[in-house]
């Protein structure tokens, strides 16, 4: 058997989902006998059959990817509940196996996949989607590129009708239906407290908290997920702030972004300039802006929601 063919056979077997008792299936979902697949490529030895030897790799694969995925999405796990999350994770990883050399990107397609598969979250679909967006933005913020920030003097004398600013690649803007930022902090705190409280207590506490949020009428929030001094933060934004930043990110000029964002704003006309000044002061202090034309890297950044 040629190398490529053998590797295709083995990879298919290794990536076949395990049974509920975490063993290798006797029959693959496509009807193949796993014993036959194993016997065709793998030698038995005096202690293990071909099937058992292949099973070691099959189990290792699933243990590894499921644990990495669960580590990245504790919030989604809290929303769906442990059992449903584990089943969802298997289904997701079957549809979206890793296509990256790093496990860091394992969940990159979760949001779009969950949108296409609403049955996994049922009545909590919006909540689950919000949480998945937040957790993916958190991953992006953690190790995203930081380009040299624009300083006030970089902008001196620039015509605001022509000025186009770009957000740092590590900043994500999220319009969410639920305040999942608070919920995720609770989930993380619960995990940190695992050493001092029982698992049962923690799970119960987490479930209660998630249920409380899920019962809320949707309460939209606008969020910037960003990094400061290498720590990731969730910063709540006013609606107008979000609109300006989103418009700038979409390539609008400074003037156009501000005009569009404030067109239907309830902020009194007389107060708008002060608001805008304060917002820009904060964003600049956080180092969120960099030059628009400098790098093609921006084109590779996932669209912000």
């Amino acid at each position: 058997m040629k190398l490529l063919n053998l590797q295709r056979h083995m990879a298919r077997a290794v990536m076949t989902p395990l049974t509920n008792s975490e063993r290798m299936r006797a029959v693959a979902p496509d009807g193949r006998s796993m014993r036959a697949v194993a016997s065709q490529i793998i030698k038995p030895n005096d202690r293990l059959t071909s099937f058992e030897r292949l099973e070691i790799y099959n189990r290792q694969y699933w243990f590894r990817v499921l644990s990495a995925f669960a580590e990245d999405f504790p919030g989604v796990r809290a929303v769906l509940g442990g059992r449903r999350f584990d089943a969802m994770a298997k289904a997701y990883l079957m549809d979206c196996p890793s296509r990256s050399f790093t496990l860091r990107n394992l969940g990159s397609r979760l949001v779009s996949w969950l949108q296409k598969h609403p049955a996994w979250a049922r009545e909590r679909q919006s909540l689950a989607l919000d949480m998945a967006r937040l957790e993916w933005a958190d991953i992006e913020a953690f190790d995203g590129l930081r380009e040299p920030s624009l300083k006030p003097e970089d902008l001196a004398g620039v015509n605001p009708a022509k000025l186009r600013l770009r957000l740092q690649p590590y900043v994500s803007l999220l319009a969410l239906r639920y305040p999942v930022d608070e919920l995720l902090l609770v989930v993380r705190k619960d995990s940190d407290d695992l050493d001092v409280a029982s698992n049962t207590f923690n799970e119960r506490h987490k479930r209660k908290r998630v249920s409380a949020v899920a019962k809320f009428a949707p309460s939209p929030i606008f969020l910037a997920v960003h990094r400061l001094d290498e720590d990731v933060y969730f910063r709540r934004l006013d609606r107008e702030e979000f609109a300006i930043l989103s418009a700038l990110h979409a390539g609008k000029s400074l003037n156009a972004a501000i005009e569009a964002a404030l067109r239907n704003s309830p902020i009194a006309l007389a107060d708008r300039a002060a608001h805008v000044e304060k917002w820009f002061h904060t964003w600049s202090a956080l180092g969120w802006f960099c030059r628009r034309e400098k790098s093609a890297k921006n084109e590779k950044v996932a669209p912000r929601r």
């Binding site: 058997m1 040629k2 190398l3 490529l4 053998l6 590797q7 295709r8 083995m10 990879a11 290794v14 990536m15 065709q40 490529i41 793998i42 030698k43 030895n45 005096d46 202690r47 293990l48 071909s50 058992e52 030897r53 292949l54 070691i56 790799y57 290792q60 694969y61 590894r64 990817v65 990495a68 196996p97 890793s98 296509r99 990256s100 050399f101 790093t102 496990l103 860091r104 953690f142 190790d143 995203g144 590129l145 930081r146 690649p169 590590y170 990094r227 290498e230 720590d231």
Partner: protein, 283 residues
């Protein structure tokens, strides 16, 4: 022999893997350590805390890169994005050599994130060697391939694992990262004499040695890197350095990671064996 063209003519001593539970200890206590090995993929990112910590480490310590997903043995071509990021990191760390595993793990662009065993065939040796050369030419530093622990053998194999390793290293003209724990694990799983393996490796190509612990199950041994090194592995290590000389040695401890001191003390046990080799050289 220890400083050779496959490890950039360096003589690095005893190192340990750089792992996040030890960051604080290393940065605040600044312990004396010959060198650290990093997992390349953990730092092939665009920014953030991992790179900041790496830069702090690089200010004070020697660092060598060790990869886990180049998959020299995968039949597909190297991932260009992977190579580009790897080269960027190589420039940052100034690693004198770079290692990754003699295994495969991806096919048709799908990654298993595991170190899957090779079929020991001449076709596989040719493809693997070609890929090693391609990576080395792109990265522009010496490359060493590491033997992996394995739990399965293929019907198509036409040679032993050590013959395959030698075939690949010869064809690629690359170095070898000799993992004596992996040799021990595979020898138990496949019933061969581990000393035959160690004695068959071309000593002049060994750039580095790995030592580690593992977990024993009823019917097989799993390479878990979560225990101290056991005596039979130390014996293999002793034989290896008897053959190859005072070679850069690294302890891997990746799960249930104990305190920095415990890991470092375990690694420093290698000194007993290295000292005896130095003594023998001096006599």
């Amino acid at each position: 022999m220890p400083a050779n063209r496959f490890n950039g003519h360096t003589d690095y001593g005893i190192g340990i893997g750089l792992r996040s539970p030890h960051y604080h200890h290393i940065l605040t206590r600044k312990p004396v350590v010959d060198w650290f090995e990093i997992i390349s993929e953990n730092f092939m990112i665009d920014g953030g805390r991992p790179l900041r910590i790496l830069d702090q480490i690089l200010e004070q310590y020697k660092v060598v890169q060790h990869g886990v997903s180049m998959y020299f043995g995968s039949a597909e071509r190297p991932n260009r994005e992977h190579l580009r990021r790897l080269k960027t990191l190589v420039r940052r760390t100034k690693t004198p050599w770079l290692s990754d595993h003699l295994c495969w793990g991806s096919v048709d662009g799908r990654y298993t994130h595991d170190l899957l065993p090779m079929p020991y065939t001449f076709e596989a040796a040719r493809i693997t060697a070609q890929k090693i050369r391609e990576v080395r030419d792109f990265i522009e530093i010496p490359v060493a391939v590491e033997n992996v622990s394995s739990y399965a053998e293929f019907h198509v194999s036409a040679m032993t694992e050590w013959e395959f390793l030698n075939e690949v290293a010869e064809r690629a003209d690359c170095g070898i990262l000799l993992d004596v724990n992996n040799i021990y694990v595979s020898s138990q799983n496949h019933s061969f004499d581990p000393f035959t393996y160690v004695n068959s490796v071309p000593a002049e190509r060994v750039a580095q040695i790995h030592i580690a612990g593992h977990s024993k199950y009823r019917k097989y041994i799993l390479d878990t890197h979560d225990h101290p090194v056991i005596d039979p592995v130390w014996k293999l290590y002793a034989r290896a350095i008897e053959r190859v000389g005072h070679t850069a040695t690294l302890l891997e401890w990746d799960d249930s990671i104990p305190s920095f001191e415990e890991v470092h003390d375990e690694a420093l046990k290698a000194n007993r064996f290295l000292a005896s080799v130095s003594l023998a050289d001096a006599v």
